[in-house]
């Protein structure tokens, strides 16, 4: 039998380790003469096995923050360290490696690749790592089972409901067993029942030791986290405790 590490072995009682750390981060967009400070002096530490929600009005910088945390965007000033590495010192390929190994993205609009079936979509993150492919397939099937889609492996994304698509995206995010899960309005396109299912999955992942950073503008959703970070005009307005 192939043994699978779905992250179940990790315990949430492990001592906290800082996995991602922002130090006076600013992200500035220049549009002609005007500057948009999407993030402005943000300093915060995220530790392993923490469940955070990031809240704030539209345009407050939530997505920008998440993109920097996910290493697809870089700060204009300030430092971002992830798993102890300063992203400033990393080149494009190393950042790609970091994304592939440590970060799982989940998007509002699911972002599955339309011409690939469910199984292939779940496998995409492995395409860019040199892994044993049979093991990968077994793991992908296991993850599909976990999110309740084992019957849909060969379906195209267009043949699935929104909730199902988002579950495929979650399986895909888990494929490389990353430490950090970044979800940008992951439930924004879902009805309340499906939202509940997805949030249930996040809670499970949190119990298994993942660091979850969930962007939302719905207070109900945000309250499910342990910590709630609220942004306003690119600055941290508050950090409060949630119910998680």
């Amino acid at each position: 039998m192939i043994s699978l590490n779905l992250g179940i072995t990790q315990s949430k009682n492990k001592p906290l380790v800082v996995v991602a750390e922002l130090d006076d981060v600013a992200r500035i967009y220049k549009m002609g003469d005007t500057e948009v400070r999407a993030l402005d002096g943000v300093s915060v530490k995220f530790s392993s096995s923490e469940y955070w929600s990031i809240m704030g009005a539209s345009g407050s910088g939530k997505s920008t923050l998440l993109n920097i945390l996910g290493c697809i965007d870089t700060p204009t000033s300030g430092a971002y360290r992830v798993e102890g590495k300063d992203t400033k010192s990393l080149d494009d390929d190393s950042l790609s490696d970091l994304r592939g190994s440590s970060i799982g993205f989940i998007f509002q609009s699911f972002n599955l690749i339309p011409q690939l079936n469910v199984l292939e979509n779940i496998l995409v993150p492995t395409f860019y790592r040199n892994e044993e492919s049979e093991l990968s397939i077994a793991r992908a099937e296991e993850l599909a089972r976990r999110v309740g889609l084992e019957e849909r492996l060969l379906h195209r994304p267009t043949e699935l409901s929104g909730g199902q698509q988002q579950r495929v995206a979650i399986a895909r995010a888990l494929m490389n067993d990353p430490q950090i899960i970044l979800a940008d309005e992951a439930t924004g396109n879902l009805d309340s029942h499906t939202t509940e299912e997805i949030l249930e999955l996040f809670s499970e992942l949190h119990d298994e030791g993942k660091t979850i950073l969930l962007v939302t503008h719905e207070l109900d959703v945000g309250k499910r986290a342990q910590n709630i970070l609220t942004l306003r005009d690119g600055k941290i307005e508050s950090i409060t405790e949630g119910n998680g």
């Binding site: 996910g70 697809i72 490696d97 339309p114 690939l116 496998l123 860019y128």
Partner: protein, 424 residues
């Protein structure tokens, strides 16, 4: 299901191309026509030069051949029996043999149309060739057995003959041909030699007179003394009497450089002596030059078509790939977010472009084989599709894919992930 990253890329590339079947198909047309032009060009050129070389082999590269031609019929004389005297004469032969510098040997040829018979086997209207001993040297023909005509046969007007391999096989299957006596017209001739065919033939013995390549050689003087200088041809009820001294004169020249001089001298001489234009001069070396010219023109024309098609095809492919990259910007962003490096994205689109152009190339190989086949069939030109042609075509299409896929792939690889993810 998923094997090596490369075969996966190819498989996924094919899959995305199949999402837009018509677009992909249309895109490949440029490469298709380009590749098929290249293959046709090579096949036609190869065929033309092969044909020329074979002609040279048959006629001898250092020979100048003078041949009698029947002048155009006078349409006003509609008699059922007509006698025409035309063609090369013995004085022509003497002039070539005696006065042209550089000529080493001259062979006269006179054809006699007679029925040829051995026991109950008959070759009717067979052409018997009267010639001299030098014929064998000048044409480079090889004997299978026995000997060729000798000078003494002509002087003594011996009733001897040399037969072609196929004639021997037809008349004397399983028997020794040498020493047999065949009947040419009313006269009997002893077989003294068997000559090999000019071009190699198949091994199957033939029992069908119509399919036999008739070659029978007799001493020219023997032939003239028996059959005279009149040839009677029965032609759909009308009797044609032709009087021809010599049907052919082959002059063999010392070296290739003097061929042109001898050819020019022959033409001048014949133009003076034969105002009725009842001759032709065949120069195998000129045939070769003409074949090379044909090949060159074909290469230029088809080379232009091929380059233009390939260029247009390549640009078309690039255009479609740019559109594809634009359409799939979001997908590129997703892949980058999931860990794809720039070179992965680059590779993905390059592979897709190469798959597209190789697809066109494979269709092009099909058309490129079909065109020479049709040319051979309808234009009566020999074509040869070499084994290298498909490989060359494959190489060309891969190159086109790589060259014209580079820019779209580079563009895809350098998209900003955040921008790409925001793309609609």
């Amino acid at each position: 299901m998923l094997s090596s990253p490369f075969s996966r890329s190819v498989r996924l590339g094919v899959k995305s191309l199949f999402l837009h079947k018509l677009r992909s198909l249309l895109t490949t047309f440029g490469v298709l026509f380009g590749v098929s032009s290249v293959i046709s060009m090579l096949a036609i050129g190869e065929g033309a030069s092969e044909e020329a070389q074979e002609q040279i082999r048959q006629l001898g590269s250092q020979n100048v051949i003078l041949r009698s031609l029947k002048p155009e019929e006078d349409p006003t004389s509609s008699q059922t029996t007509s006698a025409t005297k035309y063609g090369l004469t013995w004085p022509d032969f003497e002039r070539v043999a005696g006065t042209f510098p550089g000529v080493e040997g001259v062979v006269p040829i006179r054809n006699f149309t007679q029925e040829v018979r051995f026991e109950d086997k008959v070759l009717s209207n067979a052409m018997t060739m009267g010639t001299t001993a030098e014929y064998q040297d000048v044409t480079g023909r090889i004997l299978h057995r026995g000997r060729f005509l000798g000078p003494i046969d002509d002087i003594k007007r011996n009733n001897v003959c040399v037969v072609g391999y196929e004639v021997a096989r037809y008349f004397f299957p399983g028997r020794e041909p040498l020493g047999q006596t065949i009947k040419i017209g009313p006269e009997y001739f002893e077989v003294i030699g068997v000559i090999l065919p000019r071009v190699p033939i198949g091994a199957s013995a033939t029992s069908n007179a119509a399919s036999v390549t008739v070659e029978i050689f007799i001493p020219i003087q023997t032939g003239i003394s028996w059959f005279g200088s009149m040839n009677v041809k029965m032609n759909s009820g009308s009797r044609n009497i032709e009087m021809v001294d010599l049907h052919e004169v082959i002059a063999s020249v010392k070296n290739a450089e003097t061929v042109a001089q001898v050819a020019a001298a022959s033409r001048t001489m014949l133009a003076r002596e034969h105002p009725q234009n009842d001759y032709e001069v065949i120069v195998p070396l000129e045939l070769l030059a003409r074949a090379e010219e044909t090949k060159r023109i074909f290469n230029i024309v088809l080379g232009c078509i091929a380059s233009i098609s390939l260029l247009v095809g390549g640009i078309g492919i690039m255009n479609v790939m740019l559109a594809t990259v634009n359409e799939r910007t979001r997908e590129i962003g997703i892949r980058r977010a999931l860990g794809a490096k720039r070179h992965h994205i680059m590779m993905q689109f390059l592979v897709e472009t190469v798959v597209l152009s190789v697809g066109g190339g494979i269709l092009g190989i099909g058309l490129g084989v079909l065109v020479p086949y049709l040319v051979e069939h309808y234009a009566d030109m020999r074509t040869i599709v070499t084994l290298q042609a498909p490989f060359l075509a494959f190489g060309i299409s891969v190159t086109i894919g790589l060259v014209f896929g580079l820019y779209p792939a580079w563009q895809a690889a350098n998209l900003d992930p955040v921008e790409a993810l925001r793309h609609e």
